[in-house]
Symmetry: C2
Subunit: 645 residues, 2 copies
Amino acid sequence: MLTICSRQLAPVPWTRVEIADRFWQPRRETNRTVTLPLEYEINEKNGVLDAYVWDWWDPAKGNPPWRIWVGDISKWIEAACYSLGTRPDAELAALVDHAVESMLKGQKEDGYLYSNPLPREWRFANLQELHELYDIGHGMEAAVARLQATGQRDMLDAMCRYADLLDATFGHGEGQIPGYDGHPEVELALVKLYRATGERRYLDLAKFFVDERGREPNYFKQEMEKIERDGIFHMGWYKNWNYSYCQAHQPLREQQEAFGHAVRALYLYSGAADVAAETGDAELLDTCRRLWRSVTHRRMYVTGGVGSSPHGEAFTFDYDLPNETGYAETCANIALVFFAHRMLQLEADGEYADVMERALYNGVMSGIGLDGKSFFYANHLTAYPQSTLVGHAADHVAVRRQGWFGCACCPPNIARLISSLGGYIYSTAPDGLFIHLYVGGSVTFQAGDTSVKVTQRTDYPWDEKVVITVQPEIPCEFTLGLRIPGWCRGARLRLNGKSLSLKDFIDRGYTCIIREWRPGDTVELILPMPIERIEANPRVRMNCGKVALRRGPVVYCLEEIDNGKELADLMLPRDAELTAEYRPRLLGGSVVIRGKALRRSAVGWNDALYRAGRSKVKEVDILAVPYARWANRTPGEMIVWIRER
Amino acid sequence: MLTICSRQLAPVPWTRVEIADRFWQPRRETNRTVTLPLEYEINEKNGVLDAYVWDWWDPAKGNPPWRIWVGDISKWIEAACYSLGTRPDAELAALVDHAVESMLKGQKEDGYLYSNPLPREWRFANLQELHELYDIGHGMEAAVARLQATGQRDMLDAMCRYADLLDATFGHGEGQIPGYDGHPEVELALVKLYRATGERRYLDLAKFFVDERGREPNYFKQEMEKIERDGIFHMGWYKNWNYSYCQAHQPLREQQEAFGHAVRALYLYSGAADVAAETGDAELLDTCRRLWRSVTHRRMYVTGGVGSSPHGEAFTFDYDLPNETGYAETCANIALVFFAHRMLQLEADGEYADVMERALYNGVMSGIGLDGKSFFYANHLTAYPQSTLVGHAADHVAVRRQGWFGCACCPPNIARLISSLGGYIYSTAPDGLFIHLYVGGSVTFQAGDTSVKVTQRTDYPWDEKVVITVQPEIPCEFTLGLRIPGWCRGARLRLNGKSLSLKDFIDRGYTCIIREWRPGDTVELILPMPIERIEANPRVRMNCGKVALRRGPVVYCLEEIDNGKELADLMLPRDAELTAEYRPRLLGGSVVIRGKALRRSAVGWNDALYRAGRSKVKEVDILAVPYARWANRTPGEMIVWIRER
């Protein structure tokens, strides 16, 4: 029978999930065979691997260690470990061992570790800028991943030593620092470390950082005065500069709107959600809900991209979502997945899964090319190549994917998301299993004393059908919670061939089947995927009169290579028929959308810039491709929002 | 009889033109009684008047002399002189005398004059940045205006001394400087000085500057190396930086497109047109024509605003005309009037007058408030107040008119254009008079030996009717050329009550009546002014699907105070009736446009950011006001381009 769902979830760890499908598996293989080796190689070449051995750097030679190198290589280790845990690879394992070994060589007696030969008195003296805690937060995440993947504790022990140093150093006690890092990350990492070790002090320290941030007197203000700086990275010239860049403008619990640097904000919200989950802190959970709504109801691109302004890589104001000059950093979009995933466990509301899926299939995967070795830092929704050649408004806007970045936070971040994808698909509830994402593959979990394997067969997101097979060791009763995506209307369900009516049985985005499951029981879920025209809220001034095309969770775009130049002049008639078709050889195999649109004819314009009267229009064929796969062919214009007529 | 026109024009000087109408006369009075006294006062307070006495400045006190102060006060003197020449004002005359006296006190024995106590060896050593020649160019223009207005030669003599110094200093001779100023202006000023004095060396020097600029080896490059600077104003960081900012990227004659800082570009083009006019240099005229087309056919806002990018206050690329972040500096739009006026004399083509009028009634007059004491530096076509509060893309975008600017080039520039307006209305041809602008008032000119007074009575630009009365001392034959504006279709003409068919008698924007004119002969010209919906070329990506409303020469906009917030969501149905009505008490007396539009209803959106399916729309009243008069009431949103449905 179908039932209303229970709502206490815990993610099924990636170690118990197998992914085997046509959509993700090739990307994960590319991640393993191209992206991870490439990232290692670049890090090695740039000196990142040796940076921990503090005496390597000769100032005369230039190329100084970069403040987030520990974070960069840690994210790479983490990414590689997720891959190793699901797909053994001796070569990759050797690289990981070498990277960990190099890193740990640089650790000081007392646990401290940093990519720059800081004199001891400078430690933790410029928290706002130097990212020491951000770095080691990534180290902690990597250490936990390594433990899970291969059982190796070396990195975990090292990170615990650093965590112990932090615990002794930070706080309100005598001689302690009442500060926090300029870039949140260690908060969520300390909760991970707590979960891996059971060491309560780590959770308490995470809570301390979450609560301390933004209190008066402002720690960063005092710190800057002490070291005589005029603002972080000398950015005091930033208009209306305040500490929101570092999430220190206000205590988190008092914040009403998502503001400031988007990655910093979302890493902090994620850490706060973790702390709330572990402590049952209702006020903190409420804060997370409020900021979630601010981000996702008023400040998020249709692609799940967030942080619309390049200035400070930041949130701006409600409904301010410029397309051509938009930012939506890959890391920010990934961070939205992190936050969504955490909120989903706390509240089991499909809205969180919807946003997680939206970001994943669009604004996150747009950050990496199909070749696995080309990246976008910013994931804007319109490309007009000429505009990137003049002025500065579009400085961050690339129309070609790039090989690497001076600040290379995004490439390893997307690598770790791809390799840990298994961890986002399922959750267990006390009474059963929830499926959040439809991805071909399988999971094993315990239903009471019984081990159950659940298998998904699907061509999602291209196809509407998901076949779920349940294989308990012995028949047993449990609840199977299935997400009915927010984008989907008219979902249908068949259990062992028999239709079940979903009417009245979808609660906050999930429908739950509770029964005694027998080996071979099969659920067929149909999630109809008509092509839909999405409008943005009337207050999104950039998109008035325009629609975005979406099919299933996938948002589409028009590229110049398929549709010619001056895409802004295309108009999609309201009643124009649009058809979807799978093209196996296009962009790694993609469903594309075809249809007829109109564009103004150049006839009669001659060399005129303005004229009274109406232009003739002509009909043209259009072809839309998944936004996440744009810029994998000849570079050119691109639009997501299409004028409707 | 009507005839095809002759085409050799000379402007009728402002001294022989009287303006008496309801549109311009109040603005000119405000200019005289508010703007000019205010500008004097601010200049005085800021030390501009005393700056010429080089020993005034105490570096310890800050507020150092600014490089364009000589230019600023000269433009003010020039503006005040035009006013004095048409409307005596003892108080204003005293201020002018004092300003001139202060300025000339600072002049050195050899003619040199600058607002900064430069050591002698620094003179002309940093031409790219210091604006010495730009400054003195404005001094020359002021000196000529003073001579014309009051017959006083003091300033003219002083400027000639400086011009002689320049003539001795610049050139290819031994010990001479083969350079030119970073900011064009002296070129057109030297031609003015030549015309006032007959001194051919001044014209030759103007030609030298026009020709020398941008030649290899690049003078500015050599200069920068010599003084060890990394680029003008240390702007070497500018993306794709080149010497186009100073119009020194290429010799003018080789330039194919308008590029670089718009004011610099258009001042140079104006100077080049002057040189071409005086020398008959066909190649140079051709260059002017080519750059004219680049500016006005591909890089100009519908308001006549130019220079769309705040970065370098510059032209960018064809059809790149952003609305919300556009620049279109008041000075650039004024400079377009200068250039248009010069080309018009050279070619008597109505296209030049059309652009002159377009800029004048829209992008120029938008630069000054109806109060005469509030200004816009940038004249963007969309205002969305919240966007000015974040990031830097909109740094230059003001949504309130401002009292003054750190770099105060625009306020005196607009003051001088307003007070010299008479000089733009008429030209004489060898065989008669041409009327370019329809402005109530009169002109006197010589037709052979006969003095003729021509009077215009009209409520242009609000009303379609212009009544022209011709009063020769004795009956005499001459041609009266009347501009038929490019925006006008169906113009009608009556001579002493009798209709004349214009068919086949409009040649490049003018119709010419040749006859023996008798005292009291009356021409009635009807220029029908339906409200028109203007489209931008399909390549202007910002305006696809949108129209601008224009009536006569006036471009309209929608302001929040009349139409509510979220103006971008308004849609004007294709068949929506629009009506014009004169409102005597609104914005100084303006014709407004009223009609019905649609906007999406908020119903059903709740807190959603995106949704599939169509929003309901509701009908709303809209009221459009002249763009040039926006931001004279409660600040808020504004749009020029309105979506059409």
